[in-house]
């Protein structure tokens, strides 16, 4: 029986609708009801591990706005057993460091044997959170993992490296960051979705974790966004209308500039 924790993120779709908050220069936390795609695969990997262990629990953990419960619901419909959301206005603007403290606090309470991360959040594309969480928890961490199996009290992981694959073992409890997965996605059925509505999503405020508000949010973050700006406007391109000689003119243009 294994207890697996999966740290996930609720994101907004479609990608082009995302925008930066003018005041903070950080992602606008509008609607975060979709489960980050790498996390979908990570939840599947966790469920497959649970099956291979012939029992256990998969526990989702996230931090975000209230709408992130919808993202958690997706993981529960896939088969996860429990989910925790830390939602607090004070969290707005938290960077990697502040976020990792919050997730670590939840993981200390849930105490999983194995904590999984996807390779990155597809909106902020940091890909580093797992390291900071493991550091906070004082646990070993294995990154860039493609294949993962249980090996007694340890996990055996295949890591993708520059020149091949490393196979390593780490004793549990530990943190594993996937770089991909060989798990085949199992899409929840309508019946799974209905069942997921009965599963509990625990919503915690910061106070429940004993974290002071100034340790998170902008005040608890060590990174500062100095400026956000648009790319500078470029002058008009030369547009060749296709009047049957456009190709000739284009070739001449390239030759004149020594480009062809």
């Amino acid at each position: 029986v294994i207890k697996i924790g999966v740290c996930v993120k609720g994101i907004s779709l479609p990608p082009q609708a995302r925008r930066l908050e003018p005041q903070t220069g950080r992602l606008d936390p509008a609607v975060r009801g979709e489960l980050n795609e790498p996390d979908v695969y990570t939840v599947q990997a966790a469920l497959d591990l649970k099956d291979s262990a012939e029992g256990g629990t998969v526990d989702l953990v996230t931090m975000g706005p209230g709408s992130a419960v919808d993202a958690l619901r997706r993981g529960l419909a896939m088969g996860a057993d429990h989910a925790t959301l830390v939602a607090d206005d004070a969290l707005r603007g938290s960077d990697l460091l502040a976020t990792s403290q919050v997730l670590a606090a939840v993981l200390r309470i849930r105490a999983p044997d194995l904590t999984l991360f996807g390779w990155e959040a597809s909106d902020s594309n940091g890909g580093m959170l797992w390291a900071s969480v493991a550091e906070n928890l004082g646990l070993p961490v294995v990154s860039r993992v493609w294949q993962l199996e249980l090996s007694g009290p340890a996990v055996r992981a295949t890591r993708q490296m520059e020149y091949g694959f490393d196979v390593v073992e780490a004793s549990m409890p530990c943190v594993v960051a996937l770089a991909g997965t060989t798990s085949a996605l199992r899409h929840p059925s309508l019946r799974d979705i209905i069942a997921s509505k009965q599963k509990k999503i625990e919503v915690l405020a910061l106070s429940a974790l004993g974290i002071p508000t100034d340790a998170v949010g902008l005040s608890g973050s060590r990174t500062t966004v100095l400026a956000v700006s648009r790319p500078a406007a470029r002058p008009s391109a030369t547009v060749l209308q296709d009047d049957d000689q456009a190709a000739d003119r284009l070739v001449t243009y390239l030759i004149e500039r020594g480009l062809a």
């Binding site: 907004s12 779709l13 479609p14 082009q16 609708a17 925008r19 003018p22 509008a30 609607v31 009801g33 979709e34 709408s67 919808d70 419909a77 899409h187 929840p188 059925s189 309508l190 019946r191 979705i193 209905i194 406007a233 002058p235 008009s236 547009v239 209308q241």
Partner: protein, 683 residues
């Protein structure tokens, strides 16, 4: 005032004559067919323009108003000569002003152009039919010329009294003034023909008369066709000389660019096959020779392109007609940093141009409110009296539209789509050549429902029992349609046979052409999903009249097949809009697609097809390697009947079930979206 952080150039004010407009976005003049059949401003016309003022446009140019009875392009153009329009128009101009926009009226004499069949008496410089028309004009004598000039002045006076801020004279893609300016239509030898100066004389006289009629300082502009793109017609050089000639009179405050004629329809209202910004060169050239403010035209819809054009001085204002028909809120959205929420024009021309060319009120393929703002404007949506759980089955256009409008009204909406992406048939349609922008319809809807927090589940095949178990108040069946081929056809590999319950109950029907079940028969869906057809000759059957057959045939020709299209109708793609058809026919020539009208397919075998010539009644066999029949589709409605069976037929179960879109009856997307909006507005 600090610069707009999103689109600083578009957001900056601009002065035309004595009028300052709040930003650079202009609702281009166009024929709406919204005035009454006797030319009076209707409540629909007023609501149409007020909606664009509310949406943030800087300037609205109410277009194509006739200056005299003989100059009406349609029964449904505005009768600007008639003083009775003044009191009917005044509330509109007042409301437009109240919402911060300015409004000009565009005056025209339609000359040799008319949509009426048969037309009223047409006027022209020389007795001649416009090539796209069957009717010759009356050659105007000097008295007619004076009457026309006076009529412009009278109409301008009426506009001023009705509260318009300025007047625009149409020397554009249709109408009398351009036919006078054009060497192909004007063969006169008197003072109004021959030299450029003579051919421009009528326009200058009209401008002088209008200038005398308007309030001092009120802007008078010219919509100027810079290039006729018409055989024998004038090109850009001549267009620029026309501009210089007009500018030298000192009577003009701005130019509004334009191109084309009734004989080059693709240029006046360029469909999607004409690249965005195709006419930028024309705007740029005019800007280079003129000191007057220039309004750019020509399929400008992307905000970044519009901003760029102002920033680099290609134009001073950006004209948009169809983009603001598709989304009146475009200016507000982009200036408020919500550009991603804009509903983009896809340049299909089906809702706007196709409608008005039949003298029917303007519509939009995916803005149900266009031309019927007082009924369908999203501003008028009422919050739901009781918040309900709405379950939508199917994530195509109709399902997403119901989800969007229901969620806007405050309902809790979840949507289940069986495929791994939203969009339904629209995704396939977008794979046809020149149809990529079609996908923007569903991209818009997807962004909207995601933003509104609709719970979207992909890869979920809904079943009736589970749906009922979920206990929603409302179940919307928007499961779409499939090609109507016999059960057992290869099509089923990707798309299980649907409509089986309906067929068992005599509510469905399958076409009974012999051979439809054969494996050399492919549905349009199979083709667009990438099925490999046997090399060689393909016959596409067009029993749809729109893009489904025509675009699929092009898709196959691009893939290297030799393609024929047969139809029972008098023409292939009989319901295609004119500008699109013109370009489609041109591409058929290039791609060697043979069009076979008045030809029925009566039987299919493995390597040949039996054809019936509807003119001669002769039957014969022709060799074809594959056949793609495009018949009216069949609804994918099994789940509806299953739900009905589970719930019972009476409505006392407390669950309201409705079929929407193609699941109710396979149709064009425009009808489906209006219906979806209407149903969702009542839930």
């Amino acid at each position: 005032m600090s610069a707009n952080p999103h689109f600083p150039h578009l957001a900056s004010p601009m002065t035309l004559g004595n009028v300052t407009v709040r930003n650079r976005l202009v609702f281009q003049p166009h024929f709406t067919a919204l005035p009454t059949a006797n030319g009076m401003p209707s409540p629909e016309l007023c609501a149409y323009h007020v909606e664009r003022a509310l949406g943030g446009a800087g300037l609205i140019v109410d277009g194509n108003m006739a200056v005299m009875q003989e100059g009406t392009e349609s029964r449904h153009v505005l009768a600007a000569w008639d003083p009775r329009v003044v009191p009917l128009y005044a509330p509109m101009t007042e409301q437009i002003h109240r919402h911060g926009a300015k409004v000009f009226g565009q005056l025209t004499h339609a000359g040799h152009d008319s949509l009426e069949r048969p037309p009223h008496l047409l006027w022209g410089p020389t007795q001649m039919a416009e090539p796209s028309s069957n009717f010759a004009t009356k050659a105007m004598d000097e008295r007619d010329i004076r009457r026309a000039t006076d009529a412009f002045a009278t109409a301008a006076t009426n506009l001023m009294e009705a509260g318009f801020d300025g007047v625009e004279i149409k020397l554009g893609h249709d109408g009398l003034l351009r036919s006078f300016a054009s060497p192909v239509f004007n063969r006169r030898t008197d003072a109004y023909g021959g030299s450029l100066e003579n051919r421009m004389r009528l326009s200058v006289e009209v401008l002088r008369a209008v200038r005398d009629a308007v309030r001092p300082g009120a802007p008078v502009g010219v919509r100027l066709c810079l290039h006729e793109y018409t055989p024998g017609g004038y090109g850009l050089d001549h267009g620029l000389r026309m501009a210089e000639h007009l500018e030298a009179t000192g009577l003009v405050d701005y130019f509004n660019c334009d191109a084309g004629s009734f004989s080059s329809f693709w240029a006046q209202i360029p469909p999607a096959a004409i690249p965005q910004g195709r006419f930028r060169e024309l705007n740029q050239e005019l800007k280079a020779v003129s000191d007057l403010p220039v309004i750019a035209f020509g399929r400008i819809k992307r905000p970044d392109l519009a901003e760029h054009m102002i920033a680099v001085g290609e134009a001073d204002l950006i004209g948009m007609a169809r983009q603001l028909i598709a989304d009146p809120e475009t200016p507000n959205k982009l200036l408020e940093g919500r550009a991603v929420e804009i509903r983009p024009c896809i340049a299909c021309n089906d809702g706007c141009l196709y409608q008005v060319m039949q003298e029917k009120p303007v519509r939009c393929v995916h803005n149900p409110a266009a031309g019927q703002e007082a009924v369908f404007s999203e501003r008028l949506l009422r919050p739901a009296e009781r918040v309900k759980d709405v379950v939508v089955v199917g994530g195509g256009p109709a399902g997403m539209k119901v989800a969007e409008i229901s969620a806007q009204r405050g309902h809790r909406v979840s949507l289940f789509e069986r495929e791994d992406q939203l969009g339904g048939q629209a995704r396939l349609a977008a794979r046809q050549p020149w149809h990529d922008e079609f996908a923007e319809i569903t991209a818009y809807l997807e962004a909207a429902i995601r933003r509104l927090g609709v719970e979207v589940w992909l890869n979920v095949l809904a079943d009736a029992t589970s749906l009922v178990e979920m206990g929603p108040h409302i179940i919307i069946i928007a499961t779409g349609s499939q090609p109507n081929l016999p059960a057992g056809h290869a099509q089923e590999a990707a798309d299980a046979d649907a409509g089986t319950i309906a067929r068992e109950r005599g509510l469905g029907f399958v076409h009974d052409v012999a051979g439809l079940e054969l494996d050399n028969v492919f549905s349009s869906d199979q083709v667009l999903r990438g099925a490999q057809l046997p090399a060689g000759r393909v016959l596409v059957i067009d029993a749809n009249g729109h893009w489904e057959a025509a675009g699929t045939a092009e898709f196959l020709a691009d893939a290297g097949h030799s393609v024929d299209i047969a139809t029972r109708r008098h023409t292939v793609a009989s319901d295609m809009e004119g500008a699109n058809f013109e370009l489609f026919a041109e591409r058929c020539r290039e791609k060697k697609i043979q069009l076979r009208p008045l030809t029925d397919v009566i039987a299919i075998e493995r390597d040949r097809v039996a054809l019936l010539d509807l003119l001669t009644a002769a039957r014969h066999w022709e060799p074809y390697d594959a056949v793609v029949p495009v018949y009216p589709r069949r609804s994918r409605d099994d789940i509806y009947f299953e739900l009905r069976d589970v719930l019972g037929s009476d409505d006392d179960t407390g669950v309201y079930v409705e079929r929407v879109g193609d699941a109710a009856a396979p149709r064009l997307i425009q009808s489906n979206l209006v219906e979806a909006h209407r149903i969702a507005a009542m839930l």
